[in-house]
């Protein structure tokens, strides 16, 4: 690389492409994390018409009685606002603490905090990410404005005492949730008592999930509130698809980025070879084989791509570790290690793809022509 500015610009283009790659992978992970961590042993039971329609609370013991069902937890979407600002969004879910922790063992809570939650009616537990985002601590009293569920007497402000902060068992576990007790909620409600948003049933044998889901569907067929039961994975997937196929969007953007970078790097290598025709001719004249010259150009291309690409991936790793660009609205935000590994493969592939045509050109270079004086 003789033209330092051109080499630097190409280097920076490749570096930025891999920083962008890192961010897009992290964003895709943020949208698909629910799918990847969704338990195969959990069935979501919702109203057949829509998730916004409620189910009677007495469905729970009936689902529990179905063969193969280990535990059933109810959930209801609260959808409140913290400090009256829509941008302060985080999911608030109404749950029954004991069964919920049984069905979701990936939420880690200390025994002391668990006991505190079970004994405090206004108690709520909050995920580590949201706690960090808003500075919530155990002992804090947090007011949340209802947007759906008014309190008896028309009040919209619900107050909760934070009794625990939960962590995720895995890296991809969502720790943005704010969970509070159903008994407190149901008792204070202005309307809709005795109902819940959906149920989640844990089955003993994940291979029989679909079969169990069909049994649940059949149990409530022809009732006033028919249900649609499906595995949690399928449920989360269909939920994610409502905002589009994030994976496909990311692949499309990345393809465009890498194709552009391939043209930039390929052009740089092509020019580098054209400018060094005589030098490559000299190498051949003194005995370097065609294969040797091909290897020299390919190594140069791979070196440029590797230096810039690895630095770009490293930079992406560091920047992503600082937190998501939305300030915490994404449930998870990290550079998955499998995508990082794939990034290294892309780095090498880019080097080979950008260098192969110029390398073949160099390999086929006629020595006599290359050395012919202009």
């Amino acid at each position: 690389m003789r033209k330092k500015l051109r080499a630097l610009l190409t280097f920076l283009s490749i570096l930025m492409a891999f920083v962008l790659y890192g961010y897009l992978c992290a964003i895709r992970e943020a949208f698909s994390a629910g799918v990847s961590v969704a338990g195969a042993d959990r069935i979501v039971v919702m109203h057949k018409m829509s998730l916004v329609m409620l189910l009677p609370v007495n469905y729970k013991p009936q689902i529990e009685r179905i063969e193969g069902v280990d535990a059933v937890a109810s959930s209801t979407w609260f959808g409140g606002m913290y400090q009256g600002e829509a941008k302060n969004f985080f999911p608030q879910i109404v749950v029954e603490p004991e069964t919920y922790m049984k069905v979701y063992p990936e939420y880690l809570l200390s025994e002391k905090e668990k006991q505190a939650w079970l004994t405090t009616r206004t108690g709520a537990i909050v995920g580590r990410k949201t706690a960090k985002r808003f500075g919530f601590k155990v002992g804090d009293r947090v007011p949340i404005q209802a947007t759906i569920w008014n309190k008896k007497g028309g009040g919209r402000t619900w107050e909760f005492d934070i009794v625990g902060i939960f962590d995720g068992k895995e890296k991809g576990t969502d720790t943005t949730g704010f969970l509070f007790r159903y008994d407190y909620f149901d008792e204070a409600l202005e309307f809709g008592q005795g109902q819940v948003g959906w149920y989640v049933a844990r089955v003993a044998d994940p291979e029989k999930s679909e079969q169990t889901a069909k049994k649940i569907d059949a149990l409530f067929a022809n009732s006033p509130a028919e249900v649609k039961a499906d595995t949690e994975k399928a449920f989360v997937q269909s939920w994610a698809k409502q905002i589009g196929d994030i994976g496909k969007i990311m692949v499309a953007i990345l393809s465009a980025v890498f194709f552009t970078i391939l043209l930039v790097a390929g052009n740089t290598m092509g020019q580098a070879v054209r400018e060094r025709r005589e030098e490559l001719g000299v190498l051949k004249a003194i005995g370097f084989t065609n294969g040797g010259v091909l290897a020299i150009v390919l190594i140069e291309s791979c070196l440029l791509s590797s230096l810039a690409g690895v630095l770009g991936l490293g930079l992406a790793w560091i920047l992503i570790a600082q937190g998501d660009p939305t300030g915490g609205a994404l449930a998870v935000f990290y550079f998955p290690s499998h995508d990082l590994a794939l990034g290294f493969v892309f780095v090498l592939a880019l080097g080979v793809a950008a260098g192969i045509l110029p390398a073949i050109q160099a390999m086929r270079l006629n020595v006599a022509d290359a050395l012919r004086r202009m």
Partner: protein, 232 residues
């Protein structure tokens, strides 16, 4: 490589035709030539007479359309591209008019290039490089880049690169063509010394009659054919 009759290079009935569109250009025509081992031969002739093409044939950089080129009894036409590259690395040292040094490498690294194709160790390569640079009088400029050297010094590095692997033949294409008279004379004296003191076989293409006087023998090429042969 051995030649019982002391003929090292034998060019027999060589034609070289280039095609430009529908036109055939006969650069060399039925050319016969011999060079003895240890001889210093000058090739002269006007531009386009085929001097460089002939030099490329002898150096295995080009192949004849017809005829054979035999070096030390081996017909190099029959070699594959890969074999020819290996053969060049063992038997041929090239000196170019514009030196053709790699600008990003120091003098010693430029000289070391042909040795990278040999099984020599790094220490052995360093010894060979030092010896070659000493022969050309540049032992004190080993770490200099080409841009830090004068034209004459760059050509000396070029000659050191050509002789470092101890080739059978030195092929020099206008080695003084880009130098002033003084530097040119120094280069010619160096080639003469390599010929006399080390017995190197040298074939030199030149336009300059003054340069050709340093050779044992001069051959004249015109329109791809040898016209006159003058012995010194």
């Amino acid at each position: 490589m051995s030649a019982s009759d002391n003929v090292l290079v034998r060019v027999s009935g060589v034609d070289r035709v280039f095609h430009r569109g529908s036109e055939d250009i006969h650069v060399l025509q039925n050319l016969d030539m011999e060079v003895r081992s240890g001889e210093f031969l000058a090739l002269m002739g006007p531009s386009g007479s085929g001097k460089s093409t002939l030099l490329n044939m002898i150096g295995g950089l080009d192949r004849p359309t017809k005829g054979t080129v035999t070096i030390g009894g081996d017909s190099i036409n029959a070699l594959s591209d890969r074999e020819l590259a290996a053969w060049r690395s063992r038997h041929i040292g090239f000196v170019f008019q514009l030196y053709n040094l790699l600008p990003t490498l120091t003098a010693e690294k430029n000289v070391e290039l042909p040795l990278l194709l040999t099984p020599l160790t790094k220490a052995e390569r360093n010894r060979h490089v030092e010896a070659a640079l000493t022969v050309v009088g540049l032992a004190h400029r080993t770490r200099h880049f080409p841009r830090q050297l004068s034209g004459g010094e760059q050509q000396r590095v070029g000659i050191a690169r050509a002789i470092v692997a101890d080739p059978t033949i030195l092929l020099c294409d206008e080695p003084t063509g880009d130098l002033d008279r003084k530097a040119g004379d120094e280069i010619l004296a160096l080639l003469q010394a390599l010929h006399r003191e080390q017995g190197k076989t040298i074939i030199m293409v030149t336009h300059d009659p003054h340069a050709s006087h340093r050779a044992d023998r001069t051959l004249y090429l015109n329109k791809g054919q040898l016209t006159t042969e003058m012995s010194e």
